[in-house]
Symmetry: C2
Subunit: 205 residues, 2 copies
């Protein structure tokens, strides 16, 4: 065997050993996690992908025959592509009856709309037939003091044990982060916007 | 008018003014971004939500009547919930014929499988009828040197001008980050795993 073949074989063996150690680590972690219960997932931060990941989770749940529901707290006048696919697949949508909050400039009206929509969320969070609830852009309702924090926390804490919840939005309140099981912070590294590329249907909304 | 009413009114006025300034900023940004073209979006980092955001983008595109396709470079034995929903909705799936890379421990076999799957990706990236291509978990193929970086960059650079591409996976290669229009880094704040909660169908896969 040439010296080069020998080096190649050693390299290949080391690669297999590294993969084996990685596999053992992953297997041990999987074996240690045995509890099955509803997960509270928070997707926060200023980067693109939070709501999209929320809707992706809904698509995944529906694909597994689970019952999912969507509550949208901030929604522009734009048509929502996900809704066109998911609503006919049996996912009910509850949408706050006001545009982007910074377009209404009427705090009382926003608060009333937020509370009405939260009442829809509360019904879903009390319904054991619902496997997954997406609370899209909920975080702003707390940053703007449109919803009472204790009321929100209480509904989340008392939901059915198997029910998953996904909360999206920037600057998530610390109390929600603490309550959550999984939290991802989506940070913007760069955005097409800055390069002059406009938001496009079927990609950005 | 009482002093308290006065204070409340001032507070409400200031709120409206803040919202107005925010709206003006957003409007100015939107007006400045006028170019319409395919966006290369990279979702990287170690947090939960990258692939889910990728599939959410596919769901959004399909909801708008766009043609999307999915290429999955790493895929366990688990059933994929998104596929059950998206494939019947007309989204073709191309899945690399090997399990999680750290379960195969055969570098030559992994490289052959990666190259075969990349050939599928190349066909999609050359097809102007496809509006969106999701390259799920592509980043690992570059970190493990399973695919040639120049070959990957070339197909991305020469794709149809209107075609959007989403790339997901940890530790994305710097050259892809540079080429991308939008990059989000999904960072884990905490994960249910660590609290002993197991991965559950319809939520984690």
């Amino acid at each position: 065997m040439s010296e080069q073949d020998d080096r190649e074989q050693t390299k290949a063996r080391r690669h297999r050993e590294r993969q084996q150690r990685l596999k053992e680590k992953v297997d041990a972690k999987i074996a240690a996690a045995t509890e099955e219960r509803g997960v509270l997932l928070v997707l926060t931060g200023n980067g693109k992908g939070k709501s999209t990941a929320g809707f992706g989770t809904v698509a995944r749940a529906v694909g597994h025959g689970k019952r999912a529901a969507v509550v949208q707290f901030i929604k522009g006048a734009w048509e929502c592509g996900e809704r066109n696919l998911l609503e006919p697949a049996g996912v009910p949508f509850f949408v706050m009856r006001t545009g982007f909050t910074w377009e209404t400039q009427n705090k009382e009206q926003d608060i009333a709309a937020a509370e009405q929509t939260w009442a829809d969320a509360e019904r879903l969070l009390a319904d054991p037939a619902i496997d997954l609830v997406l609370l899209d852009e909920l975080t702003y309702m707390l940053s703007y003091h449109y919803l009472d924090l204790e009321r929100v926390l209480s509904a989340l804490k008392h939901r059915p044990a198997h029910q998953h919840v996904v909360i999206t939005g920037r600057a998530c309140h610390r109390a929600l982060i603490e309550l959550a099981d999984t939290v991802s912070e989506v940070q913007p590294v760069k955005h097409a916007f800055e390069a002059g590329i406009k938001a496009q249907p079927g990609f950005d909304y």
